[in-house]
Subunit: 118 residues, 4 copies
């Protein structure tokens, strides 16, 4: 969903400027912040679980299986975040156009490249 942004967004930050809008104050994931936090707490639990496995001398392969699960969970979190970033922050910048739009696309592409390579 492409988010709606109101004219009062700027007013919330005194001295704010029209050209440095929304995405500098509110991230694109605001609507699903609770879901993200829940997800991250689950991942934190997975990493703590890994510590317990190592403390208990669990067999290497079983530890590795849990590492793969935690890595996948982090990736899924990143993909969700990126999706919201595109549909809010990037969409917003593109609808305004100009140099900021180009910058937002460049920035998103760089983040995608880091994800693909990590």
């Amino acid at each position: 969903m492409v988010a709606k942004r109101t004219a009062t967004d700027g007013a919330a930050r005194p001295g704010g400027s029209a050209t440095h809008g929304y995405q500098h104050r509110k991230p694109g994931y605001l609507a699903s912040k609770d879901d993200h936090l829940k997800r991250l707490r689950r991942i934190e639990g997975q990493v703590r679980g890994l510590q317990r496995l190592v403390e208990n001398d669990t067999y290497c392969i079983d530890v590795l299986t849990q590492v793969s699960a935690a890595t996948k969970a982090l990736e899924a979190f990143a993909i969700g975040l990126l999706d919201e970033h595109l549909s809010h922050c990037v969409a917003e910048a593109l609808s305004r156009g100009g140099a900021e739009a180009d910058e937002k696309v460049r920035e998103a592409s760089a983040a995608i490249a880091r994800l693909v390579r990590s």
Copy 2:
């Protein structure tokens, strides 16, 4: 299956329509098509090089090193393509807004997810 989209796609819908624009007839990578083709020919050469290595009974580890290089080259190609897709096709759709904009973002996110997971 890859959908066919011909240069006459626009003509097929007499008068075309403002809401079914640009990205249905021309891909976002048009301006750098030659670079992409050059890149892909180089990757084809890498894959043929892998065949020669295997034919010549090259040591496994040396083959694997070249596989990593080819994989990285494919990823770099994908990242470049995605960047252009965002800055052209998705940007176009977002500037027009509406359901098509949402659809384009969803589609791009799904492609990113496939890349991150591949």
Copy 3:
């Protein structure tokens, strides 16, 4: 380093059997257990840091950068664990040979495949 294993390994566990050796009681990462735990606690800290970023409405791209860092750290942990698994558990099984050796290689390959794909 490929660990040396003595004939008395079995004797250390009364009732131990020759066919269910070393790797069923002690994981390959035993010597560097403290390093692994330190590493995992640092990753846990990174994941908690991600929660703080989301709670503070940090800009999406900055969150994504930290996700990539945490993912890379998890991968590095996995690679270290796998290295020790190969040089201890798999090495041990291979030096004994037989069906267990084949099974250990199959198991390691499957773990590597999961890592490459995650």
Copy 4:
């Protein structure tokens, strides 16, 4: 650089030697060489298919889908090769033990790390 190893490598050391065995003359994938070559030719076909897609101005997302497929195929090839390397070259070296065994494990771990990161 990929080291050259020719079919005459063996002949160069008449009678071979116990300490420089199997894996210095023949790669671990010898038994399934034809399967590997078939696989690589299929991947070459996929990369040529990508060129056709770009030449025909195929929609970006459809090109990206095929890139993900080619990347996955390369990864699957690498995983297969690595599995054979472990069960032949590394297994051989480990059964002989000594410095060469350590070196083989180190080398395999480095190749795995490159794969996981690519």
